[in-house]
Every structure is written in structure tokens, then in C-alpha cells.
Symmetry: C2
Subunit: 243 residues, 2 copies
């Protein structure tokens, strides 16, 4: 029986929504998370949340806003390794004296919370593990996208993945979502140039699959689009069939 302020529908924080969908999080654990969320700190856009080669820092979570894990090359090229959306975790896989394998940068203004330790409530460890598995699955998806997808497929696949992930955190409308990325960021994520992203977006737009007003993406028919590029939803466990 959901209690007011923790309902799954709309009022909960994306972090709470997501973790509750990833594991059977106990009431105490939800309390610990809620407490952590109230203590979350803001980070301005373009600020680093972690630096490649620097200390990894304690496990954290994105409470609101978008961030990107990226790799910077010596000559200025850069590659966004993965996007961090509200509800995503940072640095849960730790080892002694861990250093960060990538730079994490806030794309929008971001609120970051310190994650409660897995032992501060039943189900937390499971939810963290599930989140971690999802993250790895998304890395694999990114590799397949970059290695074997055409530019058009990459764009469609990425938008579908975002739709899926934001949906898990309760942040989608029925047919789209708020999109803070610029075309240049999409290009850095998909291994393309901004110009080419622009042109391929126009193709998708003209074919009626995708509408991209700055700030918002509308997927006209996600299911058909997914089928067209051969995409199936990311699944990492049978225990939670939706993901």
C-alpha cells in the first residue's frame, strides 16, 4: 500500500522510482534514500563530477539533471561513453584505492546525492547490483551501436534507449521526453560529426519517425521504430521482467 509522497506514479523522486523498480527495496531503505535525496547537492552545468585518473569518490546517484561520462583524447576529440540520467548511480563498483576510468561532466544542472550504504536497508544491495548490471548492458549496447550501426540506426537506437531508461525513472510522456542534449553532444555520443547528426535527424524527421524540437523529443511510434532497427529492450534479470 503506497504511502503519500512515495507513490510510484509521479510524485516520487526519479531515483526512488528507479531503484524501487529495480529491486524490492524495503521501507527503511526507502527512508534512507529519501533522506539522502533531501541532502543532495547541486552541481552547475559543465562542472566535473569526476575526473579521469582522479579519485573515484564515494558512491553517488544522480537525483535530477543529466550528466555524461566521457573520454577526452589528446587532440581534442572526445567520446561520450555513457549518459547519466536521473536515478543513475555513480561509482557503485569500487575497489581499493579506486580511480575513475572516465571524466563525468554535468550536462544540465545536476543534483547529486550520496548513496546510502547497501546495508542500510533490505533490498538496497539488490537494487544497486541490478542498476550496475543495467549500466553494463548499456555499455555493451553502446559498443554494438558504434561498431555496427549506421548513423541513422545509431540515432534511433539511442533515442529509444533514452526513452526506455527515462521511462524506468518515471520521466517520460507517452510519446516522448525532455531532451537537454545538443546535436553536438549526440554526435560525441554516437561517434559522428554534428553536421552528420543534423542531416540524419532531418531524414528521420522527414520520414515521420522522430520529431526533435530543441528541448524535446517525440517518438511517433516507438514500437515500430524499435522493430525497424532490430532493437529489443534491455533485460538483465528474470526477477524483474520489465528490466
Amino acid at each position: 500500500m503506497p504511502r503519500p509522497g512515495l507513490s510510484d506514479s509521479a510524485t516520487g523522486s526519479p531515483l526512488l522510482t528507479r531503484l524501487r523498480r529495480l529491486g524490492a527495496v524495503s521501507v527503511e531503505a526507502q527512508g534512507a534514500l529519501a533522506a539522502a535525496i533531501t541532502l543532495s547537492v547541486p552541481v552547475a552545468a559543465r562542472r566535473d563530477l569526476a575526473t579521469e585518473g582522479g579519485e573515484l569518490g564515494p558512491p553517488r546517484a544522480i537525483v535530477s539533471g543529466w550528466a555524461a561520462r566521457m573520454r577526452l583524447l589528446a587532440d581534442g576529440r572526445r567520446q561520450i561513453v555513457s549518459l547519466l540520467l536521473p536515478g543513475d548511480l555513480i561509482g557503485v563498483r569500487r575497489q581499493v584505492s579506486a580511480i575513475s576510468p572516465s571524466t563525468v561532466i554535468a550536462i544540465t544542472e545536476v543534483a547529486v546525492a550520496l548513496l546510502p550504504h547497501a546495508c542500510s536497508g533490505a533490498g538496497l544491495a539488490d537494487a544497486y547490483a541490478m542498476s550496475s548490471a543495467l549500466e553494463e548492458a548499456h555499455l555493451l549496447a553502446q559498443i554494438a551501436r558504434l561498431g555496427r550501426f549506421t548513423a541513422q540506426e545509431r540515432i534511433a537506437d539511442m533515442l529509444l534507449e533514452l526513452f526506455e531508461r527515462l521511462g524506468l525513472a518515471g520521466l517520460t510522456d507517452p510519446d516522448g521526453f525532455a531532451m537537454p542534449l545538443t546535436q553536438e553532444m549526440v554526435a560525441d555520443s554516437l561517434g559522428l560529426t554534428p553536421v552528420h547528426v543534423n542531416r540524419m535527424l532531418q531524414v528521420a524527421r522527414r520520414s515521420g519517425e522522430i520529431v526533435w524540437r530543441p528541448g524535446r523529443v517525440t517518438l511517433v511510434d516507438p514500437a515500430t521504430l524499435a522493430q525497424k532497427i532490430g532493437r529489443s529492450p534491455v533485460v538483465v534479470s528474470r526477477a524483474f521482467p520489465r528490466y
Copy 2:
């Protein structure tokens, strides 16, 4: 004081060598590993070690031989997500009812061992965590390669990574290593076509950087090559400076 049969130099199994370099593995833990290695089972080349969407199975390790994690697309395209070398672990990051996010295929004949549980000896958990962190770092490197490297850079970077990883398991000569991959597999790993891999290999060969006799790769000057493409060794912890 190393004991006979467990010396770091050459006689040890690549799995033992690698894990001992990744963490301070206790003598009991080494015993458990050695026992697991004697019980390892052979898998023929081209056989599956795991199937995408199937049960993940218990944590295992590659004792000898090479394997590949790959993603298969509906239309026959395929992308090798990562290579599994002797000493690498499979499925250490687990969660309830885990399913495999990728297909794992034996490239050569492979020997696979069941991993001792992390509690069967001090230091094992650390070593597993370090291995897991290394694996993630290599996934990130793969993403940057595919997204932002030219074909030539991809080839050089991949060979340098293999040199580095095989070195950690004690499987390199001073200037190269045994290479069981076909050019087609390299292509599937680097997101290229076999023809293009062939042509770029010839360029590298003529420029004197890389010698690729079938079955063996020689890196004429790894340090200079690494500098040329802006590659620095993968590091995931300050506790073990080499890696």
C-alpha cells in the same frame, strides 16, 4: 618467498599470475585457485560459453585460450564487445536471476574453471573487484576506439591493449605475443570490414610498426607506437600501480 610451482615468472597458470598481480592473494586463496584450475574443463573452439539472454551461470575464469563476448544483430552483422584472454573472469558481477547480456564464444580451444567463492581466501574479493574494474575500463576504451579512432588507430590501440593485458597474465614475449585472431575477428572487434583491416595492416606493416605473421604479432616499438596514438596504459587503482 615463492614456492615451487607457484612462481610468478613462467610456470604459474595465467589465471594465478594475473590475480596475484591484481591483489594480495593469500596462500589459501592461491590454493583454492590452483585446485579450481586442475578441475577446469575444456571447451572446443566455436562453442558457446554463454548465450545472450540465457542464464549467466556461475562465476568462471578463462584458464587458457581466447574467447569473445559478442553481440549478434538480426541481419547477420556482429560486433565483438570484448575479448576474454587467459586469466580473465566471466560473470563475476552477478545479481539475482542474472541473464547474460552477451554471447560468449570460444575462439580457440579454451579451458574454463569455476571460480572459488570470494570468501575462500583473503584477497580474492579484492582481486575479483580489480579484475572487474579493469574489464570495465577496457569496455570504455573499446567505446572510445570505435567512436573516435581511425581504422589505423583502432588496430594499433587494440594490439597494444592485447600486449598489455597478456603481459599482465605473463603471456607476452618482450616484443610480441601469440595471436589466434583472424583478420575477420579483428574486424568484428573494431567495427570494420575484413578487407579494410587487411589494408590498414599492410600500411602499418610497411611503416614498420607492426609485424603480423599469422599466429603471431610483433610490436616493433610499443612505447613509440603508444605515444603516436596517444595511448596510456589502463590504470584502475593506486594500490597496484602497474594496473
